[in-house]
Symmetry: C2
Subunit: 485 residues, 2 copies
């Protein structure tokens, strides 16, 4: 299985092809120090044998930003070192911090943009990235990742909507790429060539006037020329189309580009892999074999494996799927796919982030601040009451309503649907024994069943299925036509 093959990135031996990309947790204090809660969150991924853990963005500078990790001063190093040591003591997982610079935003809706920065401020950013990288190496991290994505400073320089008019400006591709070149130079001067330095950047900005995969191919070539050790691709997440809620600071994931960045249940699986594959093929045609990593609805193991097996990407980044189940890799290795707590892309995690609350998964037990410890496969899964699940279906106004009995020991229920005899797919994970499905179409044969799962994802027996064909229109009834010809 390609998913479980190791990959070496500039000397860093990553035990498998799964990355947990940087995900905000809002578990640190306002002071920016590593808290036990945040350390536990990342140790949990190591327990689950995630190949490469990217710790959420930590600031290289002192700007205010609520609960956010910091790497802007040497005083933050001991806390980071303890967390890294705990991770390394747990498994072979490798761990890198994502380091970030961001500009100022105000509750009024005002935000600082890159064209407001002086050359002195830019020089300071270049210096700060280098110093932060040095601290990361000092703290024992296996490498670092530069945050050159979404609504943040480096990405805003690379963006096509960069409004500067000088040598860092948006008028030419080379000008847009000047800052990242200087930042990488500063970073290498601080950490040397033998320290893995990855970069996260956008394969498509998904905003008006933004860049598309055409520029992203060239940006990938430049990142390769600069000696980045991996290219981790995201999309969107820009301020340009963010929706301002009066009295709140702008949330970079509130617009359409933010929706694309963390695509919900209405989006197809693996939707951004084609961009990554194009970039990988392009840099390969120029003689570079820098590992390319894609993100975006890749939490189905078969889907993830297929992308790797086809050579489209070198690693898969799974954020929400690994939040739901940090033991995803371990369960794949043990062949227990059935036991994975399956992300249904309900995006409660995204909403919590947008509301500035600690980020948890809806499928975790109520109030849990951490994924439950894996009870293992030997625990008896939830069982339907005597007489079975009693799954019933009602159809009204184009919507299917399912109801079933509670199962003993159930933490949540996975509802599956198969269309016209095809493969069953997860529709939703719910905590109450009811579900509405408003996305059915007349004339299609639907088959539903439900499985009750415990907190570790141990799924009990499938319920008896219910089957149903909503009524379809019959164009034959329209033959009493009055032709005017």
């Amino acid at each position: 299985m390609k998913l479980l093959e190791p990959i070496t990135i500039n000397g860093m031996k990553v035990p498998n092809r799964v990355m947990v990309p940087a995900m905000v947790t809002r578990l640190s204090g306002e002071d920016g120090f590593v808290s036990p809660a945040i350390s536990n969150r990342y140790v949990r991924y190591a327990q689950g044998e995630v190949g490469l853990i990217v710790v959420e963005a930590m600031a290289i500078h002192g700007s205010n930003a609520g609960p956010l990790l910091r790497i802007s001063d040497d005083k933050f190093v001991p806390g980071l070192r303890d967390m890294v040591r705990r991770i390394h003591d747990t498994s072979d997982s490798k761990v890198v911090p994502q380091i970030i610079h961001f500009l100022k935003i105000a509750r009024s809706g005002w935000r600082q943009t890159v064209d407001m920065l002086t050359i002195e401020e830019i020089d300071r950013i270049i210096q700060q990235f280098g110093e932060a990288a040095a601290r990361a190496r000092e703290a024992g991290f296996d490498g670092i990742e530069l945050h050159n994505a979404h609504a943040y400073t480096l990405a805003s320089f690379v963006s096509r909507v960069n409004a500067r008019t000088d040598e860092y400006g948006g008028s030419t591709l080379e000008s847009r790429l000047r800052l990242i070149g200087k930042v990488m130079d500063s970073v290498r001067r601080h950490v040397g060539r033998d320290f893995p330095v990855g970069i996260r950047y956008l394969s498509d900005e998904f905003v008006r006037g933004g860049y598309t995969v055409e520029d992203a191919k060239l940006i990938g070539l430049r990142m390769s020329q600069l000696g980045f050790d991996y290219l981790s691709l995201s999309v969107g997440g820009k301020f340009e189309d963010a929706v301002h809620t009066p009295g709140h600071v702008l949330h970079g994931y509130s617009g359409y580009s933010g929706e694309r960045c963390m695509p919900g249940a209405t989006y197809p699986d693996a939707l951004h892999v084609p961009y990554a594959a194009e970039i990988k093929a392009f840099i390969a045609s120029k003689g570079f074999d820098v590992p390319v990593i894609a993100a975006g609805k890749l939490s189905d193991p078969a889907t993830a494996e297929a992308q790797l097996a086809a050579g489209k990407v070198d690693m898969v980044a799974i954020a929400r799927g690994l939040l739901a189940d940090p033991d995803w890799v371990k369960k794949v290795r043990q062949g227990q796919l059935d036991r994975i707590v399956k992300c249904d892309y309900c995006n409660v995690c995204k909403q919590l982030d947008g509301a500035h609350m600690p980020v948890t998964c809806f499928l975790w037990p109520k109030g849990a601040m951490q994924a439950p410890t894996d009870a293992g496969p030997d625990v008896k899964p939830p069982a339907w009451p005597e007489g079975g699940a009693g799954l019933t279906l009602r159809f009204e106004k184009g919507s299917v309503s399912l109801k079933w009995k509670k199962a003993l020991g159930a933490a949540y229920y996975d509802v599956y649907r198969a269309d016209d005899g095809g493969a069953a797919r997860l529709v939703d994970g719910v905590k109450l024994p009811v579900l509405s499905d408003a996305a059915v179409l007349g004339g299609v044969h639907y088959r539903y069943f439900v499985r009750a799962c415990d907190t570790s994802g141990n799924a009990g027996a499938a319920s008896e299925p219910v089957q149903f064909i909503p009524p379809a229109p019959d164009p034959g009834q329209q033959t009493d036509a009055v032709s005017t010809a």
Copy 2:
């Protein structure tokens, strides 16, 4: 060549696989009657042997909307009939009108939305679509196309952001599809089963909360069930993300979704074909073989042919490319690809529409309201002056500046670029003998040449090429690293 194979659509014999999709011209009077200018525009496509001509959206109702064709009253039929007769007298091209209903918009930025409509108003729309279809048949059109795309009424019902709460509401897919079902029923009652009725709809709305190809597959299935005779796919073009310019009515193509709808030079070719291909495969899996048509940067003949040959789509819709050169099909048939006036996706046509001006192509002679008559292949193409084109290249601040001498008889110049020895691709079509290229990257070998073209696209000899490799960063220079480890 698949492009030139005929296709029969519910009895309508379309001579080839090329459609000119509905494109606003702003050439009709405010009265909604066919003007000579508008008639000439569509006859011109027939001269060029376009397989299926879709005449720009004509209103089925009497709402104010500036210069816009009307089919809302019998008085419009004679003018339409004359235009159709002229088209049929010209070539084997088939012609259908796109018929549209739209809601009210105001200069203040206010717009009517579907949730404001009463059931009586909806019933009226259903009736009006049927009556308009009958008039289209009476006028001699070969079929009709319903406008169920972009920011207009039918599409706003099918949209995921339909805010109604009744049986036409956004809460279920079936409710969203109720109106189009009733409209099709009304249309069939008016024109019969033997009249081709196509539909244009969106394969992705490209707005926050909008639908994606997942819904579009089901919508395609419903359209097939309803007996539509072709599915013509577009994307985006919604009011939800349109940018309001104070004092002007909202332009549905001014936001990100509008950018996707008419993607400019920074977007890849054929970018929306994958959605169409998915929809085609999906409806085929349900037993329907309704022809599927894709649009979006398909004006390169080889690119268009490749999509057809791979079976991804049944026809290609080319709007801007056929505006630039209505003789595109004829020139492909004659093997004179070199003579095609090549759309460079500068989107001046889109800007003219946004500014409520008559829509023309930048590559046409200044002031022309129509594509020039084809001078034919025997006319001597523009020639460089003695001593050649004198093409020179200057590189400054990441930008390549090209300059060359004027060619005798040149209407415009096509500038080509080949990267690292690859195939030469059109960079831009310009009228003055200068070009700036700000999208070059250090380390890549660029080769440029220029061809001078006359108004019919007759291209003269390529200039001597100029070659250039912008300087690339050398990460080896960063080895004087101060490792902190």
